[in-house]
Symmetry: C2
């Protein structure tokens, strides 16, 4: 089943904050509910956020009572802004919203009904294409990842996308082909996407895994028990630098120290050619409560914290970028450009 | 007040599992209670464990009803074994127990009362010397640490020793001298000694600090916001390799990548000249529940975990080792030897 769906005028998502204690699909009925679900991380993962936001606009198109085109468009642009301002780092959100805005603007002269149906259609396309992209990426990834023990961080699995995942697709193909011996899952503090989501979904699929605290990854590498590291991405820029869940940069440095190949995997919608270097990517800081608590328990006195949700890994640490249009090797600046030609 | 005390025939410790929610001093009345407190981490930190175990033998000496010397010695050796088998990695435990055993064996011909009082006396000496060692180390540390932002991992503060701490002493001296701008405190999963203990004790002392998840340390270094890293040690061996809380090795690699000086600080009782390299240090693996839970909350489905409590940092990552007999620079093998001449 898909992690994000749009049926009967509602956006259905798996509430990722309740996992792994409870598997619950919730229905979002307004743009504000969709925005809140993105902001609070009920839905997270760059591609999943993109599809959910697109469906937020589809929801508006199906439910809006505006019969005047201009008034509907006002409402549309307001919804666009509300959804755009939910999270700053992952670029798929802006990519999906802009794709729908472009369709609307291209067809501005059409009837209101036509525009509304084009919005819904485009949102479904975004979601369907994500699934297809994951399938392709999964095969590219499984082909270049070495057989053996793979380490991953955060969750770039089925839950982070519409279906299958980016990292998730590659791991599932490897698992099916008998190439995945053991998966090391970083718990991924502070929000525990590794412990709560990756451990849950990969264990469910029968993949042999071991959960570790983030700070154990280096020791496991030192012991020679990691053959490759693969992570998702929230934004990849023109020179190959990329933002991903906090902790990714540390893994990249550790991978280099141990000569372990290090990959990111993401669809083209994650690539932002408008930024030249990773230094330009805005990094979201999240509430201090995420660091002061863990899985709902208070773990520290009320002190100051720093809570960046992402970090930026310079491209020099990357072995290759796996996309739905093939594997990109260094020099990334030249080779990423070719993807868009 | 000291973290470990022996009065009125009882060993008094701060129950570190209850911090920071509750500050509670508990009294241990039997060797078995002392052993359990060490095993369950009610008392932790290499020097604190050493002193607590020594007081465990003092407790036996004061309370034993044996009036026959041979029978008392049987009881003593049984207690020695029970205490020795609590935790495998930190060497201060064995050092403190052996120090008392040596005293007993040297004075085997004395009266039983004399032997008992020598045991109690030696245990007090071990504790007092720890406090003095920390004071000296604190000054050596504050002298060579650069002014600015310091990052630490786990807790090597007052709670980890009899008083003041190893890292804690250095930080406190720096703070008093106005040299400590900001302290970055790693939360230190899985047992959260950073979030629960370091954040608590340094905040209490008015040190300006920010708590971070372990996986944020690399990003903070990348931003140029760390001037030095200092950690404690559970065992330093002849070539300068050392075991410390899991996550230390990753910090060492990250420090090297960012040209940040990296220090460990420990009393001579932490140095084990009988082992040549860090590969020989036994690494304790702890129960899976520590990884599957956090601060008392369940955070993951019931999957396999790997839970090493320590890792080993090769000496090549170390800028210097700060001891109570001065600062040791490379080549460590030669210079550590000199300490014991």
């Amino acid at each position: 089943p898909r992690s994000v769906e749009f049926r009967e005028g509602k956006v259905h998502i798996i509430d990722q904050l309740l996992l792994p204690k409870e598997f619950k699909v919730i229905s979002l009925e307004t743009v504000e509910e969709v925005a809140r679900a993105i902001k609070t991380l009920q839905v997270r993962g760059a591609p999943a956020i993109g599809a959910t936001a697109a469906y937020g606009l589809a929801l508006l198109a199906e439910k809006s009572k505006m019969e005047n085109k201009e008034k509907f468009l006002d409402e549309f642009y307001r919804a666009f802004e509300v959804l755009k301002n939910t999270r700053p780092t992952a670029v798929n959100l802006f990519w999906a919203l802009n794709r729908i805005k472009d369709i609307v603007e291209e067809h501005r002269e059409e009837s209101l009904d036509k525009i509304k149906s084009l919005i819904v259609e485009e949102a479904h396309k975004i979601a369907d294409e994500d699934v297809e992209a994951n399938l392709r990426m999964g095969h590219y990834g499984a082909e270049i990842l070495p057989e053996g023990n793979i380490l991953t961080h955060c969750n770039a699995g089925s839950l982070a996308t519409v279906h299958l995942g980016t990292v998730g697709a590659a791991l599932r193909v490897m698992h099916r082909e008998g190439k995945l011996r053991l998966l090391w899952v970083d718990e991924t503090r502070p929000v525990l996407q590794g412990a709560r989501l990756s451990a849950w979904e990969y264990h469910y699929d029968g993949i042999s895994l071991k959960l570790i605290s983030d700070n154990m990854a280096g020791f496991v590498m030192q012991q020679g028990r990691v053959d490759a590291i693969i992570v998702g991405a929230d934004r990849i820029v023109a020179n190959g630098d990329f933002a991903n869940k906090i902790g990714t940069y540390s893994l990249a440095v550790l991978a280099k120290e141990h000569n372990i190949p290090f990959f990111t995997i993401a669809p083209l919608s994650t690539i932002d050619m408008s930024l030249k270097s990773g230094k330009e990517i805005p990094i979201e800081e999240r509430p201090k409560e995420e660091v002061l608590t863990c899985g709902g328990c208070k773990i520290a006195p009320d002190v100051d914290v720093y809570n960046p949700a992402f970090d930026v890994t310079p491209h020099k640490y990357l072995t290759a970028i796996i996309t739905d249009k093939g594997v990109v090797y260094p020099p990334f600046e030249r080779n990423l450009k070719k993807l868009f030609e």
